[in-house]
């Protein structure tokens, strides 16, 4: 029984941003395409405003749910300093999709720590493809900041082992079931994210 190669996606952000939901949608879409999936996260006490990471491993058969250090194929950073925090988890030749939004915590506004300078520039290491998207801005332009999740999923949709449309349909179906009035808007947000990634 050999460990078969898996695609490793590390989703990171801050509690409340929808990191776990995004990871769940990714996992569901992969399952629909016949892949095995394991998804794990560490949130712990950091439910609100703390660091959240979710590991999604997709493959013919996934064993360990944990992405080994430095082996992520894709890092999806829902906040730019968080992407920087986890940036060395990406393998050389991997990809980073990052929301350029900055969420500054109390320890920074309180003067105990400083926010990294030019975090996006620091992310652009040699050998890593970086796609930067201002998901918060795009979402706000569409009328609801909460759409930034779908924008981010759109931005990473062309780096997955299944068609982008499959991910899009998963998002839309999720909203059709829970909040049908938001389905069309989320489709727009997904398309906007996908378009922005092709330009970023």
């Amino acid at each position: 029984m050999n460990a078969l190669p898996s695609l490793n996606i590390l989703v990171c952000g801050i509690g409340g941003q929808g990191v776990m939901t995004a990871a769940e949608i990714l996992a569901q879409a992969a399952i629909d395409h016949g892949f095995d999936v394991k998804k794990t996260e560490i949130a712990g006490m950091a439910q609100r405003g703390g660091v959240v990471t979710s590991h999604v491993r997709i493959g013919p058969r996934v064993l360990s749910p944990v992405i080994a250090p430095g082996t992520a194929d894709l890092l999806a950073g829902f906040e730019v300093a968080e992407a920087l925090r986890w940036s060395d988890q990406v393998r050389p030749g991997g990809r980073i999709v990052v929301n350029t939004q900055q969420l500054v915590p109390p320890v920074v506004t309180g003067g105990l720590f400083s926010y990294p300078e030019e975090p996006l520039a620091q992310l652009r290491a040699p050998g890593v493809a970086v796609t930067a998207v201002d998901a918060a801005d795009i979402a706000a332009a569409l009328g609801d900041r909460r759409l930034s999740n779908s924008v981010m999923l759109g931005a990473m949709a062309d780096a997955l082992p299944f068609p982008a449309e499959a991910l899009e349909e998963k998002i839309v179906a999720r909203f059709q079931a829970k909040k049908p009035e938001l389905a069309a808007l989320n489709r727009q947000a997904f398309a906007a994210g996908r378009k922005a990634s092709s330009q970023g």
Partner: protein, 622 residues
């Protein structure tokens, strides 16, 4: 109702370990399930509450939950309870005698160890309970196994008339993976049959059952030799063979895909014969277990030469990257050329967990900080444990559920030199008070202690995500339930009526005066706060506030509150009237996060914080 109920047998669903266990408990025809919230086990009961045809409850604590499940088993029903590792410590009193009586209806406890300590006060290995209480332990590695083993646990329980422990870790509870579902099995409940020799554990009866307990353990050990939840996997690379249990199996398989191993589904009692057979065919025998060397120690005692914690860590999760290098070194395999990785990421500021904007605990810890030099503050387990952190530093202990009151009385009675001029406080939440705090308060009254107990009643079990308890007026399904009256409860425990004070924690001046008055009175007193958690339905958002730039003096008083909605607009180097340099901190309020609790209005001495003109209460949080 849970969408899963509609799923037909054979459907494959992405489920967390917790959700998979809930499904299995339901399918097993269980009639009663109980628990108390605790990470990472909370979602088991939350998920189970969505299934029909069984009674699911939040109990006041794990001991009670365990006893509720036990009673149902005594009546012949299949019964289940779930808790985190430290919860089983609480339930250990009945546990240690149930091992004598045994179970009638299938009785299963799922206990979740927080390996890696993501949200717990300790890291302990609950598999010790199997050795301590002579009980079988099943250890799943992922969601599918958690589902299968939980169903099989009920069968095992009935076959051997024993409680069965399903031991989980965070990496089983909170990992989602595919699970193939089955159908629910309906079972008749015969009812309780009077049988004192079986259920009345006075010494005369209990003594007769001790040998039965040991005999059962022997039978289970023999049964383990052929039990199909334990599996051997062949492998060509015989330099090392492995004995492994739980999620460590997945990590091990990833690191050593071609090694022979035995994976223990039933990890206690051990199938010594099967392990010896493996040992005879491999170069070295290595035990990979999280976290303590339990299997390893028993194998060594049985005369086998084994490796385990001599080369592997005894703390935390055993992921592939952690276990591979020491095992390679053991078998003399050179380290493979190191895969190229990126240079280390730059250090980024921490994001410690923090209290929410408008959290009623903010007012309490702001007030306690103001009295810091005059009080000793015994703390407890919940969101308010964050009061120990920045910027409040106003919580001096966190040990176990309900411990604050007991420790506070101990500090009071110790009469220490440095405490002579200080008041002793105990701080705990509503759910924690009902879990194990009531007894401590009764003990303070009975022993004439001089302690002021703060009950931070936010009408939910906050830290674990907002579960109901007897103080919320709702039960696990959200239906109405009798609601305990904390003030009358404290009065019944013997606290004088005039020493029980209800206070609005948003009213900083009133809160300060109330606590100050009560710590001056040399007898037991209780202060109960009454604002709900900001994350529950009862919380009402009000109009957001703002800082008027022309009135803000940069004193930074509002920053000391520790409200995450208040941030720094500008810092300016200035000199005071005596020519000494200082940094002025001008602030602003994030109107999207502010809910108009007005605590900062009271904290500002310059009238600079006012409602945003014309603003409506912010929408629901993202």
């Amino acid at each position: 109702m849970n969408m899963l109920v509609k799923d037909e047998a054979g459907a494959r669903r992405l489920l967390s370990g917790d959700e998979a266990i809930a499904r299995a408990v339901w399918e097993a025809g269980t009639r009663v399930a109980a628990g108390y919230p605790g990470t990472p086990a909370t979602e088991i009961l939350e998920s189970l509450a969505q299934y029909p045809d069984l009674h699911t409850q939040w109990s006041v604590n794990e001991k009670v939950a365990f006893e509720v499940a036990l009673g149902a088993s005594m009546a012949g029903a299949r019964a289940f309870c779930a808790m985190k590792h430290v919860g089983l410590n609480v339930a250990s009193d009945p546990l240690m005698t149930v091992t004598l009586t045994g179970a009638l209806g299938g009785l299963v406890v799922a206990v979740a160890d927080d390996v890696g300590q993501s949200s717990s006060q300790n890291e302990q290995d609950s598999r010790y309970w199997g050795r301590f209480a002579h009980l079988p332990i099943l250890e799943p590695a992922d969601s599918q196994e958690a589902y299968e083993m939980t169903k099989r646990a009920f069968e095992l329980s009935e076959q051997f008339e024993t409680l069965v422990i399903v031991r989980l870790t965070t990496r089983v509870c909170h990992v989602k993976a595919l699970v193939t579902l089955g159908a629910r099995e309906e079972r008749k409940v015969p009812g309780f049959a009077i049988n004192p020799a079986r259920w009345v554990m006075v010494p005369g009866n209990a003594k007769k059952r001790v040998p039965l307990q040991l005999e059962r353990e022997k039978k289970l050990a023999a049964f383990a030799e052929s039990y199909d939840l334990t599996v051997e996997e062949a492998g060509d690379d015989r330099r090392a063979g492995f004995v492994v249990s739980g999620p460590a199996y997945l990590h091990l398989r990833e690191a050593f895909p071609n090694a022979p191993l035995i994976k223990l589904g039933l990890s206690y009692p051990l199938p010594l014969g099967r392990i010896r057979a493996l040992a005879a065919t491999v170069g070295k025998l290595v035990v990979v277990e999280e976290t303590e060397p339990l299997i390893e120690t028993e194998l060594r005692a049985a005369g086998l030469a084994v490796h385990g914690k001599d080369i592997l860590p005894r703390i935390g999760e055993l992921t592939a990257d952690i276990i591979a290098p020491p095992i390679r070194a053991l078998i003399g395999e050179p380290e493979p050329p190191k895969a190229e990785t990126l240079p280390p990421a730059p250090a980024v500021f921490p994001r410690p967990p923090t209290l929410c904007a408008a959290c009623p605990h903010i007012g309490v810890f702001h007030t306690l900080f103001a009295m810091r030099k005059k009080v000793v503050i015994m703390g407890d387990i919940g969101c308010y444990t964050l009061g120990a952190g920045h910027p409040w530093h106003a919580l001096d202990s966190c040990i176990s559920m309900g411990a604050a009151v007991g420790m506070a009385l101990g500090i009071d009675k110790a009469g220490g030199a440095s405490d002579a001029r200080k008041a002793v406080l105990a701080v705990m939440g509503d759910s924690t008070f009902l879990h194990m705090g009531m007894q401590g308060l009764l003990n303070i009254v009975y022993n004439r202690g001089n302690v002021t107990t703060l009950i931070l009643d936010n009408r939910t079990t906050g830290m674990t995500g907002g579960q109901n308890h007897p103080g919320t007026g709702h039960e696990i399904h959200g239906e109405e339930a009798p609601r305990v009256d904390f003030a009358r409860l404290c009065e019944a425990l013997g606290v004088k009526k005039e020493r029980i004070r209800l206070v609005d924690p948003y009213d900083l001046n009133g809160l300060f005066r109330t606590i100050r008055d009560e710590i001056k009175v040399p007898e037991p007193s209780v202060v109960i706060t009454n604002q709900p958690c900001t994350l529950i339905r009862e919380f009402v958002r009000r109009e957001p506030h703002q800082v008027l730039e022309d009135k803000c003096t940069g004193c930074g008083s509002c920053m000391d509150l520790g409200c995450p909605a208040i941030t720094v607009r500008e810092r300016v180097e200035k000199t005071d009237y005596a020519g000494r340099p200082y940094e002025a901190t001008y602030t602003r309020i994030d109107a999207r996060a502010c809910t108009g609790c007005t605590m900062c209005v009271a904290a500002c001495n310059h009238g600079a914080i006012v409602p945003v003109a014309g603003a409506k209460a912010a929408g629901s949080c993202c």
